[in-house]
């Protein structure tokens, strides 16, 4: 398959403490999302942060990867990613963990096959692989009744 590139743009005004930025995607999926240092550390409504965007990327990536493993047109998959930014001694702020919560419904699928699919989805999710060097990925997965 061909390689794919995805691009995003940010405009930042001012210093870190008081300045603010806007994030846009040429795909048109989102534009001018506001963010700032204050809202990166303490969440405030209507303002995103790099970690929130990574959480969205990881949840999106894992959900697709699991769909690829299950190969079930009736599957329903819900994934939540919680990305943790923390201060690490001697290294400053680092992304230390991404916690995935997965709830899936797939008619006729057994627990063993589901567990296997979750493991394979983690191995196959490019985002999980990407951050594995620096951060821990945890998965709480449950197969629910349809």
């Amino acid at each position: 398959m061909p390689r794919v590139e995805r691009h995003a743009e940010v405009t930042w005004k001012g210093n870190l403490a008081r300045g603010e930025g806007r994030i846009s995607a040429p795909s048109g999926a989102f534009s001018e999302l506001p963010y700032s240092a204050a809202t990166r550390v303490a969440a405030r409504a209507e303002t995103t942060s790099p970690e929130e965007l990574l959480a969205a990327a990881h949840a999106g990536c894992f959900a697709m990867s699991l769909a690829g493993e299950l190969q079930d047109p009736d599957a329903r998959i819900a994934v939540t990613a919680n990305v943790v930014l923390d201060e690490v001694e001697g290294k400053g702020h680092q992304i230390v963990e991404s916690q995935l919560t997965v709830r899936a419904q797939a008619p006729g699928l057994g627990q063993g096959a589901f567990d296997e699919a979750v493991g394979a989805a983690d191995d196959g999710c490019p985002f999980s692989r990407l951050i594995a060097a620096g951060a821990k990925v945890t998965i709480d997965a449950r197969l629910e009744e349809t």
Binding site: A8, E9, V10, P126
Partner: protein, 143 residues
């Protein structure tokens, strides 16, 4: 202090023909965003993808780190325009993030700006999370 940010996705159906929705991010900054395989692996047609979101996170993180580095040297920027282009090779993974920045920074020369941009590229938390697995590139210039 640790900071946590959450996002949730619902996916229905198979990988190639199914579709997903990114919803309930912590901030509520953006309504539901649709994702699917065709928009991820082929041309983007108005839908986002994990790689686009990583590009947005990286460009945003880099802009913050650079504004901080410049201000600490006594040259707070008037304006920084940053971008990130993330390369995804299906079957291989995410292989590269290329950062660009164009800055308006009173009293700073081109070399010092490039040096500050290099530091920000090395040290921003998103770069740290990606490092080791992807190639990081930088193109920096003053307006």
């Amino acid at each position: 202090m640790a900071t946590e940010r959450k996002a949730s996705v619902t996916w229905q159906g198979e990988l190639m023909s199914g579709r997903g929705t990114i919803e309930s991010v912590t901030s509520g900054v953006r309504g539901p965003l649709e994702v699917d395989w065709a928009n991820r692996a082929e041309d983007a047609q108005g839908k986002t993808s994990p790689e686009e979101l990583i590009a947005a996170a990286h460009a945003a993180c880099f802009a913050m780190a650079l504004s901080n580095g410049l201000a600490q040297e006594g040259h707070a920027p008037e304006r920084l325009e940053t971008s990130a282009t993330v390369t995804f090779v299906p079957g291989t993974g995410i292989t590269k993030s290329a950062l660009t920045v164009t800055g308006t920074v009173p009293g700073l020369d081109e070399d010092a700006f490039r040096e500050a941009a290099e530091q920000a590229k090395e040290n921003c938390p998103v770069s740290s999370a990606l490092r080791g697995n992807v190639e990081l590139e930088l193109y920096a210039r003053l307006t």
